[in-house]
């Protein structure tokens, strides 16, 4: 079957998913009546008659007097145009799109760093654990990954804080940069030259090495927590998938060819065990995004997740709905990319 036909089919499947996703968010924001939708788009700073006028304007714009499916349609139009409403939380107050612009880069950097860590740590350990099955190292790895798997993310974070932050005092564990340093760089305070909204990168761009180093230290614990929370399942799944592959007929044939054990493991077994892991990457993204909410909250790391919990705790409907939609879009996109990559990489065309 033609790979492009598959990709087109996959893209077509995206349409119902996206419609469903937006519909779900719309229904959620609509659940207690029109006023919540209105609240999303009402600039919280306005008062008095100006507010009245806006309510009228919004009612007209979103056709709030009409049946709900008409409202959905107009809401969808607004969302497509980039009008996601307003958010009002202690960490940010204003246009949702501005909030996303501010918080999203931090979350992206955090999750990407964690994802890289996960694969660097998880893949070799998982394979090693399977290849040296029942050895002492395998037992330790299994107990370790089992325990990590059972731990709530926040406990992993707190444990790291207690050990590395409180007991050894080697790493900071709150915010993205030390408060004492903030005054030393004017570009941050004034918000003038703030191209990526990620202090670590911005500091590097400005050549502020001291700030960058400090930001990097702040970055280690959140990234490590997020990575540890997910890596356990990667190790476990990879181990069992590798063990399954090692039982296959073609591995027996490879051995009967007289290939060195190293070649059997590295070429014949690993390739087959790692290929399905690509599809697992989509699941990893889901785990990472969910985990980011908790991790960012614990470490006061200014990402989407932190903003979401703040919105949640402060009853800010604009923030909640926007981040739900945003996370959904990211996940859908990630799954799409994974499926397409997999279609290209796996020679067995199985779709």
């Amino acid at each position: 079957m033609n790979i492009w036909a598959y990709i087109i089919r996959r893209l077509l499947l995206l349409i119902p998913t996206l419609l469903g996703l937006t519909l779900l968010v719309f229904i959620l924001s609509h659940f207690s009546g029109n006023n919540i939708l209105l609240a999303t788009y009402l600039n919280p700073r306005l008062t008095g008659t100006a507010r009245q006028l806006l309510v009228q304007k919004l009612t007209a714009e979103f056709h709030l007097n009409q049946p709900i499916y008409v409202q959905y349609f107009y809401w969808l139009l607004q969302v497509l145009e980039g009008n996601w409403g307003f958010t009002n939380t202690p960490v940010f107050s204003g246009q949702v799109t501005a909030a996303i612009e501010l918080f999203l880069p931090n979350t992206v950097v955090l999750t990407v760093a964690a994802a890289i860590l996960i694969w660097i740590i998880g893949v070799p350990l998982g394979i090693y654990s399977a290849v040296s099955r029942d050895s002492a190292a395998d037992h330790i790895l299994r107990v370790g990954s089992f325990t990590l798997y059972a731990m709530p993310i926040y406990l992993i974070g707190i444990a790291l804080i207690i050990v590395l932050g409180v007991y050894f005092k080697v790493l900071p564990f709150s915010g993205v940069v030390s408060p004492t340093l903030v005054s030393s760089f004017s570009w941050y305070i004034n918000g003038i030259s703030y191209p990526t909204h990620v202090i670590l990168i911005d500091a590097l761009i400005h050549g502020a090495w001291g700030v960058a180093f400090d930001a990097f230290l702040h970055f280690i614990l959140p990234a490590l927590t997020l990575a540890l929370a997910i890596v356990a399942s990667i190790i476990r799944i990879l181990r069992s998938s590798m063990l399954e592959v090692l039982d296959q007929d073609y591995i027996r044939l490879a051995r009967s060819k007289g290939l060195p054990e190293r070649t059997v493991n590295n070429i014949h077994a690993q390739k087959n065990a790692l290929l399905p892991m690509i599809t697992l990457f989509g699941l990893t993204v889901a785990g990472l995004l969910g985990g980011a909410v908790v991790v960012e909250t614990i470490f006061s790391y200014p990402g989407i997740g932190y903003w979401t919990t703040q919105a949640f705790l402060n009853s800010d409907v604009g923030g909640i709905m926007a981040s739900t939609l945003l996370f959904g879009l990211i996940l859908v996109a990630a799954n799409l990319v994974v499926d397409v990559i997999y279609a290209f990489i796996d020679p067995r065309i199985r779709y």
């Binding site: 029942d134 073609y250 027996r252 060819k257 054990e261 070649t263 014949h268 020679p347």
Partner: protein, 450 residues
């Protein structure tokens, strides 16, 4: 008598949760050079276990408690036996796994070069994510890198005139030997098999063959490449710098390229159509019959002394099975290799085997030449097995009453005694040993003496 393979009193057990499964209970087997031996029996009789034990591929819950597998006098499975005899009471999975890993390392130089195996299911035996050519050339690069180097060097040295001379010779009906003499006189060893293979291909027209032979001469090799190939050819450096991961990549990629060429030649002799395209394919693009040919090509790639074929045609259709059996008859003539052909189907064995051994309950109960097994079966089990198979002529078939023994708790004495119509008192006490009752006809049954 010099035997290619000598299996002596091999006993193998599997440790399972429900008890010890006694898979092999003292098997003796000899195989002459160039012989095809058939191994027949019903499921659970231990025929596949025996095949795997010979090549040393045992599962991790297996223990070989006794016996030897001698290939050209070398004892293959000694470590397993020694481990099992040291730990006869307790069985430890982790230790057994370590022993098996060590055994795999030890046998790596023998497997694929001296002894190789073809497995039952062609659909699952090839690695789904590696190209056919890679899977064939892998075994060549591992065991015969110098041969590959020689081929490539010969191609770089050969001149147009040499090739045209050879073509002339072939057109005048020269045989293999004449070409060999010619290449040796020119110092071009390695080119002759390439020329001969192209010439003997039946899927190509003459004009194309000529074109291919003339274009065998390759462009000049770089001096670095030449140095590497010379090193590989003289087996220099293979032990040393070839092992360093980064450095070995270049020679390996050169050798693999050559391996693909050799793979094309190999599978073209196995009558695979369009071999040039097939080597670039993945297994799932081929039919079952074609995959089995590829697996046979892998097994034969290094001209091994012994090939064990475990039910090579059972998963295939009758007409495809006929193709493969036909192919095996050709191979028997071409290669001077010994085969062990394992099958539950006596009629398949009767087509290609010189001798047939019948297994029951982890033992060989009868061995004889193929004709003798059918004309004059001695063991009651053999007789009953043959009369249970329906053929075009038969109007009456007889099943064997009773069931195969539970090998976790096998009967005392002869394993067949609970189902045997001629059972005697002593059958239930002591196992009869396999003795020669006629020339080249051995049977393990008290009906024919002790």
């Amino acid at each position: 008598m010099e035997y290619t393979l000598n299996v002596l009193n091999i006993k193998e057990q599997f440790y399972t949760r429900r008890g010890i499964y006694k898979a092999l209970n003292g098997v003796d087997l000899q195989l002459k050079k160039g012989e095809i031996l058939g191994l027949a029996g019903e499921s659970g009789c231990g025929k596949t276990t025996l095949g795997l034990a010979i090549i040393g591929l045992v599962p991790r819950n297996a223990a070989i408690i006794e016996g030897e597998v001698l290939i050209n006098g070398r004892d293959l499975i000694a470590p397993l036996r020694e481990y099992a005899s040291r730990n006869s009471k307790k069985f430890n999975f982790r230790k057994s796994e370590n022993i098996i890993k060590k055994l795999n390392q030890q046998l790596a130089s023998i497997r694929g070069s001296m002894i190789s195996m073809v497995f039952q299911d062609p659909m699952t035996s090839l690695n789904p994510v590696l190209r056919i050519g890679f899977q064939i050339s892998e075994t060549l690069v591992t065991h015969q890198p110098e041969m590959l180097a020689k081929r490539k060097l010969a191609r770089s040295r050969v001149t147009d005139i040499d090739l045209r001379d050879m073509l002339e010779l072939l057109k005048n009906g020269a045989d293999e030997k004449a070409i060999r003499v010619f290449t040796e006189s020119k110092g071009l060893q390695g080119i002759e098999e390439q020329v001969l293979n192209i010439w003997s291909r039946s899927d190509l027209g003459e004009a194309k063959k000529e074109k291919m032979i003339v274009s065998l001469r390759s462009t000049k090799l770089g001096s670095f490449e030449r140095a590497i190939l010379n090193g590989v050819k003289d087996r220099r450096g293979m032990g040393g710098w070839m092992k360093i991961p980064g450095l070995s990549r270049l020679p390996k990629s050169i050798l693999f390229k050559e391996g693909y060429r050799k793979a094309v030649e190999l599978i073209s002799t196995l009558e695979v159509p369009n071999p040039e395209e097939v080597v670039k394919m993945y297994p799932h693009e081929l039919s079952g019959g074609m995959r089995q040919r590829i697996i046979i090509a892998i097994a034969l790639a290094n001209n091994p002394e012994l090939v064990i074929m475990d039910e090579p045609t059972s998963a295939l259709d009758v007409t495809v099975q006929a193709q493969i059996l036909e192919l095996m008859r050709h191979l028997k003539q071409r290669f001077n290799t010994s085969f062990i052909l394992i099958s539950h189907d006596l009629s398949v064995l009767s087509e290609v085997c010189d001798r047939i051994a019948i297994m029951y309950g982890g033992r060989i109960v009868e061995v004889a030449e193929t004709d003798m097994i059918f004309k004059k079966p001695l063991h009651p089990y053999t007789t009953m097995l043959i009369s249970a198979v329906p053929t075009f002529q038969t109007t009456e078939i007889k099943g064997i009453s009773g069931a195969v023994p539970d090998m976790r708790d096998p009967p005392d004495g002869c394993m067949f005694n609970p189902r045997c119509p001629y059972v005697m008192e002593k059958c239930k006490i002591v196992n009869p040993h396999l003795g020669e009752v006629e020339q080249d006809h051995s049977v393990a049954c008290y009906l024919y003496g002790d």
